[in-house]
């Protein structure tokens, strides 16, 4: 367990403002100079139900949520006091308190709102014994009472922050500033008063604990944001001005952010009747010359498979976002999983080619979305950004300069009217949109946009000849198939030269490897550091390009280790399967650590899993599964 860090958990009822309070807390810590990371856990319920958010703060960049936490602010579930809800869900009021016992570290602090909870009930959950056993510092305070004194009990969140600050000896200045920025008039004044009163009250309690909040100051201006923010901003900076969608958790996040901002950027957002329409609209806008995107989560993405194939066949650029949640079917709407990989790679009939990026973190959400647009529009191919509920829900700080890049409005391989005049035309007057062998020797035949003079062509999902006419001629078929599929090789070369999406972590040389993809990369890297500290010899490779697969990079790396453990959040080892398929071997070198209970990996779990796997022991932990290498 790492010292010198604060992992603060705020727990309450879904809809109680837990989210916004934690965001402000994280932002204030970031402004004070710390690195922060938030992890969000919520049920698939609109109001009520146990929810928590963790804020992990360190003096160095934070890779993951960490293991467990050392400060709990339990606010009680205010919705659980509704007798109807109680009849349905049972006695949930106390959940924010006792549901969080498991992971509170030894010597941690437990601050709870005694104003909301019945004392007898608190006794019933065995808080006292648990505290004794674990050396917890239990601090009951009437947070609700303090809030009520200044008007409304909803402000007990602010009271919780004031009390937290006093107990941890954090200056309240940043919190005050945030209240001043975000609120006006009476609300602002009331919240400032609540903050101060709770701070004073908690100071008097004089609680003696070992948690040290680290100190730091950034040398560059920081921003704190979510993966969905970063995907949206990447799209906007890449000139995306059209989005169409249909709500589905967790994709809704990107859809909402884009819809809010597109009009101010002069763009258009459309909420439509279903996901088939959503993808079809994005295609129509792209066909008419606008950089566009759509997206969904598993079930909605399933509906998009036909338009996706149409985009491939008509070589209409399009970017789709697939936000994974646990499946199959509607699965667990608010829980992350990495189990849609194969689905996204192979959706659609026929031999199909698309680009699939799986960003590792918020930083890559931005850069890879930009890459997805650039590649899609340059190579006239659909590109998919696949991420999951984990990155969607977490916030992280990074330097603002990461986003300080020039916008790219280039529509890709599109001709101007002058160029169209000089291009090849069919005797019918149609522009040769789909040349077998484009002039520049590439596999991309440049396109025209409706309304351009003499650029008429037919886009069709049927196989077609160079001018777009439907054709079943066998030679034409081969020429068009090859050209479309060969784009993937060109894109691989382009990415190798320009993007570098794979991340190497740990020592250059090591006996063992951890191979990991998408959102679990940074957590695995933290585990690798600990394993090396524990005397193991381990390095990691995080892969973010799924198609075209970085065959050379991964095989070189696999050659350099004796064995590798593939870590992923699904039950069927999909990424390991992809790796073996793409590389054609290494089955004997790859084993798997899998987790699919609805929660992402914690670093300690990967450490455990790794140690058991190299010792050849069975996993003791029941929340994970170990799959041995082929032939083992």
């Amino acid at each position: 367990m790492t010292d010198n860090e604060l992992i603060w958990r705020i727990a309450g009822g879904s809809g109680d403002g837990i989210d916004s309070t934690s965001q402000n807390f994280a932002k204030a810590l970031m402004r004070s100079g710390l690195h922060v990371f938030t992890h969000r856990h919520y049920p698939s319920r609109i109001r009520g139900g146990h929810t928590y958010v963790e804020v992990r703060a360190k003096d160095e960049p934070v890779q993951s949520r960490g293991d467990g936490y050392n400060f709990l602010l339990a606010l009680g579930d205010s919705f659980a006091r509704n007798p109807q809800e109680e009849a349905y869900y049972g006695k949930e009021e106390l959940k924010p308190l006792y549901e969080n016992f498991d992971e509170l570290r030894e010597g941690g602090v437990l601050l709870y709102d005694e104003g909301l909870l019945d004392e007898d009930d608190v006794d019933e959950i065995g808080l006292e014994e648990a505290a004794e056993e674990n050396g917890w510092h239990v601090v009951p305070m009437d947070l609700r009472g303090i809030a009520k004194e200044h008007g409304r009990e909803i402000m007990r969140n602010t009271a919780g922050i004031g009390a937290t600050a006093a107990i941890l000896d954090i200056d309240t200045e940043e919190f005050e500033q945030l209240i001043e920025q975000n609120m006006a008039g009476d609300m602002q004044e009331a919240n400032l008063n609540v903050l101060q009163d709770a701070y004073d009250a908690a100071s008097e309690l004089d609680i003696d604990h070992d948690i040290e909040v680290p100190e730091n100051s950034h040398d560059e201006e920081q921003v704190i944001l979510s993966g969905s923010n970063a995907i949206s901003y990447g799209a906007l900076d890449e000139g995306c001005r059209f989005i169409s969608g249909y709500p589905m958790t967790p994709w809704t996040d990107v859809f909402t952010i884009m819809s809010q901002h597109l009009p101010e950027f002069g763009g258009i957002s459309e909420q439509v009747e279903d996901e088939i329409a959503a993808a079809a609209l994005a295609l129509g806008a792209s066909h008419a010359g606008v950089k566009s995107m759509s997206g969904s989560s598993g079930g909605g993405f399933a509906l998009m498979s036909e338009p996706l194939g149409l985009a491939e066949m008509t070589e209409t650029p399009i970017v789709l976002v697939e936000a994974m949640r646990a499946g199959p079917s509607t699965g667990m709407p608010t829980k992350p999983e990495q189990a849609d990989l194969e689905f996204v790679l192979y959706t659609s009939q026929g031999d199909s080619a698309r680009v699939v990026f799986a960003p590792a973190n918020i930083r890559e959400c931005y850069t890879q979305t930009r890459a997805a647009f650039r590649i899609a529009y340059e190579y006239q191919i659909p590109a998919i950004v696949i991420y999951d509920q984990k990155i969607q829900g977490e916030l992280r700080n990074l330097p603002a300069s990461h986003f300080d890049e020039e916008p790219n409005a280039d529509p890709g391989s599109v001709l101007t009217e002058e160029e169209i005049q000089d291009a090849a035309h069919h005797s019918s007057g149609k522009f040769q949109r789909f040349l077998h062998e484009p002039e520049d020797g590439s596999n991309v035949s440049p396109r025209s946009i409706p309304g351009q003079k003499d650029g008429r062509f037919l886009a069709t999902g049927n196989e077609h000849n160079p001018s777009g006419h439907i054709s079943e001629d066998p030679d034409n078929r081969i020429a068009q198939m090859n050209r479309r599929l060969n784009k993937l090789d060109d894109i691989r070369a382009d990415l190798d030269e320009n993007a570098g999406h794979q991340t190497y972590h740990g020592p250059d040389e090591a006996d063992y490897g951890i191979l990991v993809w998408g959102s679990q990369q940074d957590t695995a890297f933290e585990a690798v550091d600990r394993l090396n500290e524990n005397g193991h010899s381990v390095k990691a490779l995080g892969v973010s390009d799924m198609m075209p697969y970085p065959v050379e990079e991964v095989s070189e790396w696999l050659e350099s280790v004796d064995e590798a453990l593939v870590v992923e959040m699904n039950a069927s080892a999909q990424f390991r399967g992809l790796t073996q398929k793409e590389l054609g071997r290494y089955g004997e070198k790859l084993s798997s650590l899998l987790k699919y209970n609805g929660n992402p990996f914690e670093p300690a779990e990967i450490v455990d899993g790794f140690e058991t796997s190299i010792n050849g022991e069975d996993l003791a932990a029941t929340n994970m599964k170990y799959l041995p290498a082929a032939g083992d």
């Binding site: 402004r31 201006e221 920081q222 921003v223 944001l225 923010n229 901003y233 906007l236 900076d237 000139g239 001005r241 901002h261 009009p263 950027f265 002069g266 763009g267 258009i268 957002s269 439509v272 009747e273 088939i276 329409a277 079809a280 609209l281 994005a282 295609l283 129509g284 806008a285 066909h287 008419a288 010359g289 606008v290 950089k291 566009s292 603002a400 986003f403 300080d404 890049e405 020039e406 409005a409 280039d410 529509p411 101007t416 002058e418 005797s427 019918s428 007057g429 149609k430 946009i449 409706p450 309304g451 003079k453 003499d454 650029g455 008429r456 062509f457 037919l458 886009a459 999902g461 439907i470």
Partner: protein, 312 residues
């Protein structure tokens, strides 16, 4: 030269410009009603003064979907039932394009039925032509949503237990602002209606009766027909919803009784199109979005310039 100089070009348009040099006989059977739609559409183009480069035609899948193989404009032969959502977005991306969508009754009223409701509801400024031959043509004669009750086919050997859909009434309820029915057997009326529909500002739905001599031997019931505008028996106010609704009800009933009524059924001019509505609430730019990518003076904002402030 502007990026889309074909748009708005003022010159005489000849209907032959819309012939691509590939003959429809390649796929359509002799006597197929689809020839009539193609001809009427080509004839309408000089009337509306649109040249081939400024027309974007979106079709679905079916014999009808082949229309844009034989019509020389920008074309997008999409997937079964999905021409409307693709077309809608093209219109939003570039409102200066003349957007036309077309497909069969299976395509438009069956698999694409939901899109039709929503496109009509939103009143996009486009024309939608449904080739209504009361049968699935391309897949060889299965029952379609407009086949009469009791219609026997290979997949409904005991006769369909379903009543046919009522496309005109349905579009009226959904919000279309121009609704007409015409037939391949009356080329003049068909041409006029298509031209009017194209010029109409809003969603124009044309139920175009076509015959499928190959799979639907009952096709002959499309003749003789009555043009309701020319008949004194059917005097009604085209802009009055209630009267139009009653007229459509009769039209749809009589079709299956063997009397074919055609003509304009409803025209509503006052309602703004969807693009105009979106512009009015500030959700769509005044200038066509598609132009901006070719405009060297266009300003491209970075998110860094303003959005990131919220995250500091």
């Amino acid at each position: 030269m502007s990026a889309f100089s074909a748009i708005g070009e003022e010159r005489e348009i000849d209907r032959d410009e819309f012939t691509p040099g590939i003959e429809p006989q390649a796929t359509w059977c002799p006597g197929c009603g689809d020839f009539g739609v193609l001809k009427a559409l080509k004839q309408a183009m000089p009337e509306v003064g649109r040249n081939p480069d400024e027309v974007a035609l979106f079709t679905g899948i079916g014999c009808s979907g082949k229309l844009n193989s034989y019509f020389n404009s920008y074309g997008f032969h999409t997937i079964h039932g999905r021409s409307l959502p693709v077309a809608r977005a093209a219109k939003l991306a570039n409102p200066n394009l003349e957007v036309i969508a077309a497909g069969g009754d299976g395509d438009g009223y069956g698999i694409g039925g939901n899109h039709l409701i929503h496109t009509a509801r939103e009143n996009h400024d486009m024309t939608y032509i449904v080739f209504n031959n009361e049968i699935f043509g391309l897949t060889k004669g299965q029952t379609s949503p407009t086949s009469p009750k009791g219609h026997k086919s290979k997949t409904q050997p005991h006769g369909s237990a379903k009543s046919p859909i009522r496309p005109l009434s349905q579009s009226l309820n959904a919000g279309a602002t121009y609704i007409a029915r015409t037939a391949a057997v009356n080329p003049n009326q068909a041409k006029e209606i298509i031209a009017e529909a194209i010029e109409h500002n809003g969603f124009a739905h044309i139920d175009f009766l076509t015959q499928c001599p190959t799979w639907n031997k009952d096709a002959k019931h499309y003749v003789p027909y009555t043009d309701v505008q020319q008949s004194d028996d059917y005097d009604f106010d085209l802009s009055d919803r209630t009267e139009a609704a009653e007229m459509m009800r009769q039209t749809e009933e009589k079709l299956y009784e063997g009397e074919v009524l055609t003509g304009r059924m409803y025209v509503e001019d006052a309602r703004p199109s969807y693009g105009e509505e979106k512009q009015a609430i500030g959700e769509m730019p005044e200038e066509p979005l598609a132009e901006r990518y070719f405009d060297e003076d266009a300003e491209w904002e970075r998110t860094y310039d303003n959005l990131l402030e919220h995250h500091k």
